[in-house]
Amino acid sequence: MPYPTEPLEILGAWVGALLTIFIYSYILWRENYAFRWAEHTYIASTFAVAIVQAIRLIRTNIVAPLMEGDIRYIVPIILGLMFYTLPFRRYRWISRYTVSFLIGIGFGVTVRGALSADIVKQILSSVTAPTGGTAMDWFNFIWVSLGFVFIVSYFTFTVEHKGWYYFPTKIGRYILMLGLGVYFGNTVQFRMAMLSGRVQYLLRVFKIIPWP
C-alpha cells in the first residue's frame, strides 16, 4: 500500500513509527520514559482489543448456542462464573471446580496427541528402512534412528551414565547439540527478515526511501 495520503492515515503511520523507535530505544540504549510510554500505550491498546473481542466471543461462543436452545451451554457459563469466587477468601475453593475441569481436558487431549503423533509415529518412522535406497539413504536411516536412540539414552534419569552406558549418552549429547545448532541457524533467516521489514517501514515513513 503506497504512502498514505489523508491526514489521519499519515498521522497513524508516524505514530506507528514513533512507537517503534521508542520500543527499540530500550534495546539500542536503555529503558527510558519514551519506552515506558510506548509500553503502556501498546499494552492499553491490546487490552482494548482483548475486551472488545472478549465481549464478541462471549456473544458468539456462549450466548448464541444457548439462545438456539442448546441448554448444555449452561455448563460453561456456570463454570466460568465460578472463576469469580477467587477474590473472596471464604468461597475461593469453588473456583477449583473450573480449574480441575480445564486441567482434566488439557491433559486428556494432549496425552492422546502425544501418544499417537509424538511417540508411535516417531518410532514407526525410525524403524522403517529405506526401500532399495542408495548408500546415502542407508546412512541417513542409521544416522537418524541410532541418533534418536542415543539422545533418548541421554535423557535417562535412573541409570548412572558410567561404564559402557557412558558412550551412547555422550554421543547422544553431541547429536543433540548438532540439532540445536541447526535449529538456531535456521531461525536466524526468518527473524532477520522480520527486523529488516521493520527497518524498511521506518525508512519509508520518514521518507528516506520511496514507498511505492
Binding site: 503506497p2 527499540y24 534495546i27 539500542l28 540504549w29 536466524v188 533467516q189 532477520m192 527478515a193 527486523l195 529488516s196 521489514g197 527497518v199 524498511q200 525508512l203 528516506i208 526511501i209 511505492p212
Partner: protein
C-alpha cells in the same frame, strides 16, 4: 600480554551488546537506501528464463497471469517486476490478467515500479508502452482450469473487453491474438494450482512455453516440468527475483531483501568469530 593488549582481547570477548544492536540496525537499513548488490549465485532455472526472453522481440506477445495475492508480494513481486522490466527493454508485447481477487493491486504495484507502462490517459514518451498497442491489462478473470483452457482455445470467447471496458475488437493488440498459438510465453505467478492449469491447457495442448514466478514452495513442485522442458524458467520466490534483478542489472526489492539477508547473517557470523577469538585469547586468564 600487556595490560592494553589484554583489554583488547577481553573487549572482543565481551562486546557491549548495544554495539551489536546498532551495527545490525544500521546495516539492515543500508540495502534499502543503496543496494549493495552482494553477489548472488544465479541458479540454472533463472538463467534459462533470462535466455528465453533474450530470444524474444517486438513481434512476440507474452501473457502475464497473476495468481498470487498481496500477502505473497514479498516473495513474488520482485520476480514479476524484474521480468516485466526485461520484457519492456526488449519491446515484447504484454497482456496481463489474473484469476486472483486482488490482481488489480498487484498490477498497480508492478506499474508503480515499471514507469514505461502507461494507462490510456497517460501521455506516451519514447520507449514507453502505449496502452492497447504495446500492452493490455484485462483484469480479473473468473473460473478455474476450464476457463484457462477456454482462453487457450479462443481468447475472444472468454475476454469480451479489457479492464476499462473497451470492447476487444477496438484493442489492436488483443484483436491480433486468437489463442495460445499466438502467445510466445506465459509467465504465471502462483501460490496455488493455476501454474499446473497453464502447463496442462496451454503447453501440453498448444506447446506454449510456460514460466513460473511463484513462491519458493511452488518451485520444488515445478522442477519435474522444468526437467521435461514444458517450463522454460522458474524463479524461486524472492531469491529468484534477486537473481533476475542481478541478470538485468536493475537492483530492486529482491536484491534489497537478499542484501539484508546476507548482511544480517554475515554480521552475526562476524560477531561469533570475534567472540571466539577474544575468548580463546583470554582463556589463559579465565582458568
Amino acid at each position: 600480554m600487556t595490560e592494553a593488549e589484554k583489554s583488547i582481547w577481553i573487549k572482543m570477548a565481551e562486546i557491549d551488546r548495544r554495539i551489536i544492536y546498532w551495527a545490525l540496525f544500521l546495516l539492515l537499513a543500508v540495502p534499502f537506501i543503496h543496494p549493495l548488490m552482494l553477489p548472488v549465485s544465479i541458479s540454472e532455472t533463472t538463467k534459462s528464463l533470462y535466455d528465453f526472453i533474450e530470444g524474444l522481440g517486438p513481434d512476440d506477445i507474452v501473457v502475464i497471469g497473476i495468481q498470487s495475492g498481496v500477502s505473497a508480494w514479498p516473495e513474488c513481486l520482485p520476480g514479476l517486476v524484474a521480468v516485466t522490466k526485461h520484457l519492456v527493454s526488449r519491446g515484447v508485447k504484454i497482456i496481463v490478467w489474473g484469476f486472483y481477487t486482488d490482481v488489480d493491486m498487484t498490477m498497480n504495484a508492478i506499474k508503480a515500479r515499471v514507469p514505461q507502462l502507461k494507462w490510456p490517459d497517460e501521455e506516451v514518451g519514447p520507449g514507453d508502452y502505449k496502452y492497447g498497442e504495446d500492452w493490455v491489462y484485462v483484469g480479473l478473470i473468473a473460473g478455474g482450469e476450464p476457463s484457462v483452457a477456454a482462453l487457450a482455445d479462443d481468447l475472444h470467447a472468454v475476454i469480451k473487453a479489457d479492464y476499462f471496458g473497451t470492447p476487444i475488437d477496438q484493442i489492436p493488440l488483443l484483436s491480433k491474438v486468437k489463442g495460445a498459438k499466438d502467445i510466445a510465453l506465459v509467465i504465471t505467478s502462483d501460490t496455488g494450482d493455476y501454474g499446473w492449469y497453464y502447463v496442462r491447457q496451454w503447453n501440453s495442448r498448444y506447446g506454449t512455453p510456460i514460466a513460473e514466478v511463484g513462491i519458493a514452495m511452488i518451485y520444488s513442485e515445478f522442477i519435474p516440468y522444468y526437467r521435461a522442458g514444458q517450463v522454460v524458467g522458474l524463479l524461486k520466490g524472492c531469491r529468484g527475483g534477486a537473481e533476475y534483478e542481478t541478470l538485468i542489472k536493475s537492483p530492486g526489492e529482491g536484491i534489497q531483501r537478499m542484501d539484508a539477508l546476507n548482511v544480517s547473517h554475515l554480521l552475526t557470523i562476524f560477531f561469533i568469530i570475534i567472540g571466539n577469538i577474544g575468548y580463546f585469547a583470554t582463556r589463559k586468564y579465565r582458568r
